[in-house]
Each structure stands twice: as C-alpha cells, then as structure tokens.
C-alpha cells in the first residue's frame, strides 16, 4: 500500500513529455485534472491510463494534475509513477506494481 505523504511532481513541459503533479486528498477518490493539446481525441484514454496506474499502485485518495504535451502512454505512466513514489517518499519501488 502506497500512502502519499506530500505533494510531488515529475516530468517536464517539453514536447512529447508530461508534467504531472499529485497531492493527497482527504476523500477516498481519484480526482483528475487533465490539460492536453490532444484532450479531445485522447482525453478518455489518458484518464483510463491514470486510473489503471493508480489501481496497480493501490492508491485511491489523490488529486492528479496532468499537463500532457503529446506524450506516449508509457511516458505518462512513468511520470505519474515517479510523482507518486516521490509523494510517498518511497526509495524502494515495488516493481510488480509498476508494470
């Protein structure tokens, strides 16, 4: 179980990347704010990806802000996981949760 201890971010605003900010929230829910140049086409796919990634990491109280700069799926996933591990102050990733 990963517990977010603080807000954290990962990624960049550069093209093909994503800048992701996460923070813990009180309510037991996943809040997602998505800003993307391709939001209309890929918005739902990104949302699914975020929810799936959070599920794998067993996180269910989080605010995620994604600024997508046309990133591939695996980039968004990598940045989200990095932000979460930073927020959990976790130095030893559980690789099975990060597939």
């Amino acid at each position: 179980m990963n517990i977010l201890k603080k807000s954290a971010y990962a990624g960049t605003l550069e093209s093909s990347d994503a800048y992701i900010h996460v923070s813990p929230i009180q309510e037991n829910e996943i809040k997602l704010i998505l800003e993307s140049s391709v939001e209309e086409i890929y918005g739902e796919a990104i949302e699914e990806l975020v929810v799936q990634t959070l599920k794998e990491m067993k996180i269910n109280n989080i605010l995620v802000k994604v600024q997508d700069k046309g990133a591939l799926d695996f980039v968004i996933k990598a940045r989200l996981q990095a932000a979460i591990l930073r927020a959990c102050e976790s130095n030893e990733p559980v690789w099975e949760e990060l597939s």
């Binding site: 990962a10 990624g11 960049t12 550069e14 093209s15 093909s16 990347d17 990133a71 591939l72 695996f74 980039v75 996933k77 990598a78 940045r79 996981q81 990095a82 591990l85 930073r86 130095n91 030893e92 990733p93 690789w95 990060l98």
Partner: protein
Amino acid sequence: MKLRRSMLFVPGSNTSMVCNAFIYKPDTVMFDLEDSVALSEKDSARLMVFHALQHFVYKNVETAVRVNPLDSPYGLLDLEAVVRAGTDIVRLPKTDTVEDVLNMQDAIEKIEEKIGRTKKTQLLAAIESAEGVVNAVNIARCSDRLMGIALGAEDFVRDLHTQRTKQGSELMAARSQILLAARAAKIHAFDSVFSDVKDKEGFLAEVKYVKGLGFDGKSLVNPNQISVLHDAYAPSQTDVDWSLEVIEAAKEAEEKGLGVVSLDGRMVDAPIIARAKWTLELAVASGMIRE
C-alpha cells in the same frame, strides 16, 4: 556476429529522445541513467527507461543501459529496473578492475534469479581510467556475459592529466590496449563518443581512423552522426564482390563434402569465411546488397 557499429547515447531524462531514438536505426540504443541525468531526475529517468525498454518500438532493436555505479545510491535500483525490463546489455561505467565486472555480474545474476529471467543479460564494460586500461586484458576475459569493452575517453584523459585533441594522440595507448584486449578475448571493441556534433569533418576523420584501427563501432551522442558512421563502415564494392565469391566457394565446398575451401587457387580458412560473412552483413546493413 551482430553488427554493432553505432551505439546511440540517449539520456534517460530526455523524453523525446527516449521516445524517438529507434527511428534513427542505430545498431544499438543505449539509454543513459548515469552522467547525463541530473541527481534530482535519477528516479524519474529510471522509470522512463524501465517503460521504454518494454515498449514495442524497442522490441526489434538492441538495447543497452548505462546504469549508475553499484557503489552509488542509484546503481542497484537502476540495475533491477533494467534487468526486469529486459535490456539486452548493461553498460558498466568506470570499470577499473575485474572485481567491478564480477560484482556487476553477481548483482545481475541475483536479480535474474529473483524474477526468473532466462535470457542472460549481457555486459559491456566501459574503461575510463588508466587502471582500467592496464587491466583491460583481464577485464575482457573475466565474464562470459561480457560482449564488449568500450573506451570512455572524457574521464580517461582527465585521469591521464591531459585533454582531448583532434589528432587523438593522447588516446593512442588506450585505444590499442582496449582493441588488443577485446580481440584476444573475442569480444567487441567500441570507441568513445565524439562530442562536438557540429564538427562533421572531424567526426568522419575519427571514425575512419578507429575503423582502421579495428574497432567494431563507436558510441554516438547525436542521431545525425549515425548515417555518417554507417557510410564510413560500409565495405568497398571490391570487398563485397570478393566476399560473395568466398561464400559461394564455401557453400560449394560444403555441398561437395570437401574439407578445404579454395578460391583463385588459394586456401580459404574459417577466419576468412567469418570475415566475408561480416562484410556481407555490413553490405546488407548499408543497403549495398539484399540478404
């Protein structure tokens, strides 16, 4: 023998390079988690490379990862990530001794065992110090995982109390030693990067020089250097024609059950045939002939 002319350095923190490096068709893509990644980005770059290695665009290209040294806080974490993600090769930075290679080998074995990886992760040792050059012969022979050794010139010249020049005389001893060690151990030898990406002539001259010395290939920092390098490594038409004849003769001899292959009245032995195969592979890769 696989062609390994070009090994393209891709900083693990440079997302667009990580996503696009395969497009340039280097023989090997080498993701870097070490010197090109800022300390604050080590964790994020590691995850990026972890996922990139598993992405389908990297399924058909050889991948290597330069991990951080095992005695740094990042080394083992890097190693676990990339061995899990299925990298073909781990590039071991700053290899000074046989122990450095064996320690890395042990660490990889433990991880492979833990996760049940059957395909053995190969090792490429980067030699970047006087001590490493002196030990090159033993390093090259110390592990069956070792597919090659490479010169890391930037750190090496610092260790030698000098700097790099265009003529490269400061690297002469190291290049010779590394090449001899690799050839004696029957593994690959790779030359260092040429970092002034704007100096195309200088780059081409260096490529021709190290090819002449016998190096299999070179690490590259910029995708634009790939085609220049591949062109320089392309065999001459005469070599290709001759190699085709050699292979034809070898086939013929085999079909006829002859123990000895001869061409133009001279005996052709196994190393010559191997060399001809390699030339033809180069020719295919350079688009001179079809497979």
